[in-house]
């Protein structure tokens, strides 16, 4: 059962009989978002199961970021079109929502010289536990994301990959009271990382999914998506065109249609997931 903070008694009745394990972590139904008569997100519906690793793909301007921002609440009024763990997004109290939904941004503008450890601890802001406990949780998560040795380094002096993993430790700290019923949204988490770092971050995401955390992320690299996703959402012009497992979703036909570029799809010799290669235009 969800525990409500004492500060939000007026919302308590909305949350009376939720049994989180039964409800879908994320349910999007007929979501549409328009700005100045331009439809950025066009009637999108899908639901995620607990522990699923879902990757959103699509060309630039397909509406991937808008979709993520609608779910995270940065833009638009979700109304009842977005449900998190069975409850409409809008009626979640801020603090409680933060314990179940965390977002890893593409870049962070932090330029003040916090230590990496302090950044990881910031995730504990809305948790109903003591500072001491938060320190321990943050430490565990920094170990999990392999940045514990950087704990006392100044954040601005870290490399892109190190910063990203520190932030990952931060959002994991934020979700640590969700009892493995969290939803983690990542906006191009690998864009600033080298090959090894990309795989490390995505492997970590897989591990989180095994623990029961649901992951929704935008990626640009089709092959990374093919390797790590349970499920692929292919977007074009704001519409959800394809929704399925990598093998079914990432066919040459689908990709050529969405990206308007010729590709050849093969099977990975060992891992058996699809590999996408570009064909020459000539």
């Amino acid at each position: 059962m969800l525990k409500l903070s004492a500060k939000t008694p007026h919302l308590a009745h909305h949350f009376n009989d939720i049994h989180i394990p039964q409800a879908a972590p994320l349910q999007v139904s007929h979501l549409t978002y328009q700005v100045q008569q331009q439809t950025l997100v066009d009637d999108i519906s899908f639901a995620l199961k607990r522990g699923e690793c879902c990757v959103v793909l699509g060309p630039n301007g397909a509406g991937k970021s808008s979709l993520l921002k609608l779910i995270s609440g940065e833009i638009g009024q979700a109304g009842h079109n977005i449900r998190l763990f069975g409850q409409p997004r809008d009626i979640w109290p801020d603090g409680l929502l933060a314990q179940h939904l965390a977002i890893l941004p593409q870049h962070s503008q932090l330029s003040f010289a916090f230590s990496a450890f302090e950044v990881a601890q910031l995730g504990g802001l809305s948790l109903p536990v003591s500072q001491h406990k938060i320190r321990r949780i943050a430490e565990q998560n920094m170990r999990a994301t392999d940045v514990l040795h950087l704990a006392q380094r100044a954040y601005p002096s870290l490399s892109g990959g190190e910063k990203q993993r520190v932030h990952l430790a931060r959002v994991l700290t934020q979700l640590s009271c969700a009892n493995n019923h969290g939803l983690l949204i990542l906006d191009e988490p690998t864009s600033a990382l080298d090959l090894a770092q990309q795989h490390k971050v995505l492997q970590l995401c897989r591990q989180l999914c095994q623990q029961g955390i649901t992951v929704l992320m935008v990626l640009h690299d089709l092959n990374l998506a093919a390797q790590y996703a349970d499920r692929i959402l292919l977007l074009k012009s704001g519409q959800l065109l394809v929704d399925g497992a990598p093998k079914q979703a990432l066919t040459a036909e689908n990709i050529e249609h969405v990206y308007q570029y010729p590709v050849k799809v093969m099977s990975h010799p060992e891992l058996e997931h699809p590999i996408i290669m570009s064909k020459s235009h000539h």
């Binding site: 932090l110 916090f114 802001l125 380094r153």
Partner: protein, 342 residues
Amino acid sequence: MLIVRYQTRHIFVPTGLLLLAAAIGSIFIGPLPISIQQAIKALLNQEVAPHVSLVMQQVRVPRMLLCLAIGAILALSGTVMQGLFRNPLADPGIIGVSGGAALGAALAIVIFAPLAEFYPLLLTLGTVPVFAFFGGSLVTFLVYQLGSNQHGTSVAIMLLAGVAISALAGAALGLLNYYADEQALRDLALWSMGSMAGATWPNIALAWATLTTLFVCFRQDANKLNAFLLGEPEARHMGIQVEVLKRRLILLCAAGVGISVSLCGMIGFVGLIIPHLGRMLVGPNHTLLLPLSALLGGLLLLIADTVSRVIVAPAELPVGIITALAGAPFFIALLFQQRGKI
């Protein structure tokens, strides 16, 4: 490899001792030499020469207390504004908040000057600080709206807005000079450079009440302010009601700056230097930075005021001149360091 190794809590003891020493020292230093025995007797209300007792009880002790409070208020407001703007160049003086507050205060002085004869307290404790507060908050909201977009705040716009608003406030203050009567004119002259000469007991009470309020409120928001440094959307995703927090902090800062301007005029650069100094000592974590800033701010203003009293004795310099002499080169050095980012 840059390792963060701050002094953390250990810095508070030496800073506190230094502040105590400066506070005691400032009582003895001045145009009139006062011995330790005389000072103690005067403080205990025992028999001393009347001029010694007068200087102690009416000038030096009140002034010391006012300096501590105003310095701490300015430093706290500066620290919070830099956090709020996510920018180490924000300072109430530079972005025009002090100018707006001074203009509000000046308006109150000129408009309500005829009443001053009958209700002096109404003016000093009532209308002037309130008008200064409104002037200050108006400017803070304006600069924030102008300077911020979804990617953070633009330093260039923030500083330019500060220039424009300060110029406007300066012109309006000059204009008011023509409409002011003689008493109001004397009061107005004070705003331009700042002075601690108005250290009366009601003023001191107002300053300390303001300081206490600010400190308690800011301390409660210290952790949220830390998260705010990550960016507004990130703070929102962490469960912070960003708009509410922003509005509350802007109003509190404007109240602090407004009240200190109405009591002592425009004293620049305390809110700029101190947060930097504090961050060098304990890092950017506001739970430690805020109390340290308060201590350092009081210390800086106390030293500046003591210098301003003795350097051209028996006359005295406006304390704003001393803080500007120390702060302007500091500001230029900061600009130099940040010039790639502006």
